[in-house]
Subunit: 139 residues, 2 copies
DNA sequence: GAATTAATTGTATCATTGTAATAATTGTAT
DNA sequence: ATACAATTATTACAATGATACAATTAATTC
């Protein structure tokens, strides 16, 4: 749908550098350099793969790693976008406030369900425990 | 016509949770918590989709699943309504699922803020402690 | 007022997009 | 050569979107 610019990348098949690394590097460069602006939509994995004459899963791998690195945002069924990042100082200031707001929101809803304090805490513990397995987190 | 209240939902496109699941969770929360009362009409699939900037089929999917779960009643050509009264067993199941969904929601967003597990738990503790005092004004 | 037409609402189907499990390929060290 | 690890490809799947459709209600026309 819309604003996928061509995104010119050059893949060197003889460089020895894995293709997905080359894709990552060049996208990172274009983000740093301002060629790719926050919010811009990247080509779909299949489109880019077709242009580069490679498999779409190789592009998907690059996208996934870039997503985990916080460079882009991939959304199943929707597309892939350059991540809009707030400035570091804003992010830091917002972190505390946001976490507190999130906690209050969680507690508020849980209280409406007549959950006890013990339940409310315990459920967070439980879900934190099973978080790694279900999310395949980065660390 | 209609008493379709605005129904404020918040969708996080980066959470990894499917949009239709997020819609389901939040509607369930509001039903359990009493914000959405039996008989109340929900926004049409197109209206809600427009507000959330998503495809109306995604809303329809959430509505259909909520319908199958016995929480709402969707009627082609008429609209979608909160069911008269969720049976006790549904109520109990809903409570469990909702609390878990709430916890996961909280954790997911906190994780994205790079909060540690310790922080995530501690913040809930803190806010629980000061809950009574801070809630006196709002109720 | 009844019949007809338009508008509104949910439904069904398929295309598009990213995901995941796993196999095949390639490079490299032994 | 063989074995191993890393990379890429194959395949099936899940989530979302686009489009056409059916059911109900509202509006129009006579």
């Amino acid at each position: 749908m819309s604003s996928q610019k061509p995104l010119t990348l050059h893949i060197d098949f003889r460089s020895g550098l894995p293709i997905y690394i080359q894709i990552m590097n060049q996208i990172e460069q274009q983000v740093s350099g301002g060629t790719l602006k926050p919010g811009a939509q990247l080509p779909t994995v299949r489109t880019l793969a077709s242009e580069l004459r490679i498999n779409f899963n190789t592009v998907a791998r690059a996208y996934r790693l870039l997503d985990e690195a916080g460079i882009i945002s991939t959304q199943q069924g929707r597309g892939t976008y350059i991540l809009v990042k707030p400035p570091p100082e804003v992010e830091e200031r917002l972190r505390e406030e946001t976490l507190e707001a999130l906690a209050r929101q969680y507690i508020g809803e849980a209280k409406r369900l007549n959950c006890s304090n013990a339940e409310i805490i315990q459920k967070v513990r439980d879900q934190l425990k099973s978080w790694k397995e279900t999310q395949l987190d980065s660390e």
